[in-house]
Symmetry: C2
Subunit: 212 residues, 2 copies
């Protein structure tokens, strides 16, 4: 790394830390780019060189958290842990993080749904939760535990979507409810499906499941 690269990295780190501290102290909405630049001892223009918009700082934060989680999940998979139990663990961790970081999470989630396609795509690339879930599903698919007719990518993305939407709803409207329970139900619904897995005894076995 050249001296120049090192300085850039240090400056980026300083801006990131200053921004996160301000978001936590005074709220994301209330923090302006000018506030961040001042706290990081850089010009406003320099801030925008590193982060084209405030939300990009949050994306980096989410991306780092997800990278940690990915590392842990991969290690545990390699150690032979049951992927289904690991998937539940992953959703539990997501729920715990969501509850702990609610105020930062909401603008992060909205960034995924930004009407500007370039920004939405940047958020989608920074937070590849669907890919991580697909990695956990892969050994299950190889064993035939997971259905074969849909791609791992689609299943991972759908599970990620269900988490994102549940988190968005919870943080925006019902932050006093237990979010862990919400996430568990979303996961159970997606894993087992809406159609009953076994028919109750008292009912005759007529069209027990869908054809599709």
């Amino acid at each position: 790394m050249t001296v120049r690269e090192y300085q850039k990295k240090r400056r980026r780190e300083r801006i990131f830390q200053a921004a996160m501290a301000l978001f936590r102290q005074q709220g994301f909405r209330e923090t302006t780019a000018t506030d961040i630049a001042k706290a990081a001892h850089v010009s406003r223009g320099t801030f925008f060189n590193y982060y084209p918009y405030k939300e990009a700082v949050l994306l980096e934060y989410g991306s780092l958290l997800l990278a940690d989680l990915r590392e842990e999940v991969r290690r545990r998979l390699a150690q032979g842990e049951d992927p289904l139990a690991l998937l539940r663990y992953l959703f539990g961790r997501l729920a715990a993080f969501t509850q702990a970081e609610k105020d930062l999470l909401l603008p992060l989630l909205y960034e995924l749904l930004n009407p500007d396609p370039i920004r939405a795509k940047a958020a989608f690339m920074a937070l590849p939760l669907g890919d991580l879930i697909a990695e956990v599903l892969k050994p299950l698919r190889d064993k035939g535990v997971v259905r074969q007719d849909l791609s791992l990518e689609r299943m991972g993305r759908t599970l990620a979507d269900l988490y994102f939407l549940a988190a968005l709803r919870w943080a925006a409207y019902t932050p006093n409810r237990d979010f862990g329970g919400e996430v568990e139900k979303s996961l159970s619904l997606a894993l087992e499906g809406i159609l009953a897995r076994s028919q109750p005894a008292q009912v005759s076995r007529k069209s027990p499941k869908a054809k599709a």
Copy 2:
């Protein structure tokens, strides 16, 4: 209905029609409240008396379409049509409408995710797709075809969410793909779940499904 109420109703209708015509001619984004007021021969203030924001016109449009669909679904349910087939029909209709009305649909879907909770709630109330799906699931639940451990409301809302997200992604990023196929896959995933329904013959029957 008094003369005054009748006049109000007529005026609302005129504003609605003028707005929808402009949205279709020149695009939703490009149409201002002033444009709509002018075309409907009312003042800008009068427009806002009837619709507090442009998107409220779209909500009314979506609400009318959904009411038609609900009436049809209820009639067919009452005639004894298979609810599961009807659910697939409903998703097919939603997909067809989405493809036909893409340009109007995108701002409508974003309204459901409006960061202003009052606006998001208004959109959610105007478009009770989850409730309609729950109505279709109810007879299936009574017969034991649908699982008993999650509420009909939750299952309906999740299916509606999967449609909304699929439509948003499709309209924003991949409008050239076949959306009907996308919706079918979402529905199949939610109905049957990610875990295989039956184990492939060559695999020994070890932990074939989740415990949760």
